[in-house]
Symmetry: C2
Subunit: 222 residues, 2 copies
DNA sequence: CGAAAAAGTTACTCAAGAGTCACAAAAACC
DNA sequence: GGTTTTTGTGACTCTTGAGTAACTTTTTCG
């Protein structure tokens, strides 16, 4: 019964794909300009459709914002799962997890972030997103504590360490453009290496990530 | 001719003071919610007046935003001046400068930041602010290079190092509240120490700032 | 005190952008 | 092909928030 060997996705899937596309495109603009600074006309234009078309896939702007947050948190969770699975020490777990997260955020697919703008959401939804975020931060904090205990991380204040780490990481969406000469991988490796060096129990004297050794003229986008 | 031994400021000064108050209060909210996410009614309410009153001190919202940016850049410049004057190596200059900057940002007076939102400004003003910001970043980069040359900073990519540093620092406005148990000084010292450890040529194994040694239950505001 | 200036308020107008709806184009199915 | 369903559009309504103008209250100063 399946024609084209299932190469052509069915209605349901296409619908879901389009919804995903909207979410990702919206997230990109939200990150740069903030959700209030972005009109749905903007988002629609970037997708080559009109605003009204969006409403077939999304209940309203708030719903879209919520979806962005949810996907961001989902991705963060997956990345940290991998980090915990593959890393041996607390430090390694964070390193691997955060590298993956950053790569996802700024990589080819351009994935949501904006842990920033919960203030915009209201009611039940806000509570849910904030809950997810708090859980995420708590998890990160526990990994820092684990790292301190196993000797891979220095005697830092876990809460502050996480704030500084997430600051450095989320900030990337403000300046990074895939059109520049730095690839998402380059940036992720180099940035996380530098940040983690600040937390490491015995930081290596050398930095090994590519970007630190190439003098490429990075241009701020736009 | 001067009554009250000049203890009561004259008209001019009072006007200027009120304008400053508006700018600072506005900057605080802008930083949290973004300028688009903030209404002038919000700002006015926090100052205990009505929106219309603001217009006696500020031409319009854009003018206010511009003023915030300008003051932020001014403060950044002053702090870096001090850093350059007092620091001996590249690393020390950045450390002193950034500690001061962060303290100003979140300290008692609650000073503007939002290097983030230039996209909102337009025309000549945008160009001016972006020019100031670029100059500031270039200056920071030069200090990193100086540090690499004098052996106080590791072989990092200066551009990336600055991005990570400014990310960690600016992020603070998203989570810090003066109502918590951490003082502005505590946070500034501890955060900058951690960040600079990531760049330092030979990072000390111990972290000395207060917060790293006290287990205070920090509460996220609001 | 009383006049004049300054500071602030209430009640508006006006634009931008969220969301809707009746219709048009395209795709799917027979 | 023709019919039905899905996807998208153009032209709207309605809300929110920037900015204004006519006024009231407060301060200043003779």
């Amino acid at each position: 019964m399946s024609r084209w060997a299932n190469a052509v996705p069915d209605r349901e899937t296409q619908l879901e794909n389009k919804r995903k596309a909207i979410i990702r495109e919206a997230a990109k603009v939200f990150n740069r300009r903030g959700s209030h600074g972005t009109t749905l006309d903007d988002v629609a234009e970037r997708l080559g459709v009109t605003k009204a078309a969006l409403y077939r896939y999304v209940r309203n702007k708030n719903d879209l914002l919520y979806a962005c947050h949810e996907e961001a948190m989902e991705i963060a969770r997956e990345c940290m799962d991998r980090g915990e699975a593959e890393g041996r020490t607390g430090r390694e777990k964070i390193e691997i997890g955060m590298k993956g997260y950053l790569r996802e955020m700024i990589g080819a697919m351009g994935v949501p972030v904006l842990i920033l703008e919960e203030n915009t959401l209201t009611g039940e939804r806000a509570r849910r997103i904030i809950g997810l975020r708090d859980a995420f931060e708590a998890r990160m904090r526990r990994l820092v504590e684990e790292g301190i205990a196993d000797g891979s991380i220095a005697q830092v204040n876990p809460k502050l360490a996480i704030f500084m780490l997430l600051g450095a990481v989320h900030w990337v969406t403000k300046w990074y453009s895939p059109k520049g000469v730095w690839t998402a991988d380059d940036v992720s490796d180099a940035l996380i290496e530098m940040v983690m060096r600040g937390l490491s129990a015995e930081p290596s004297p050398e930095l090994t990530a590519r970007i630190h050794h190439t003098t490429v003229p990075f241009k701020r986008p736009k």
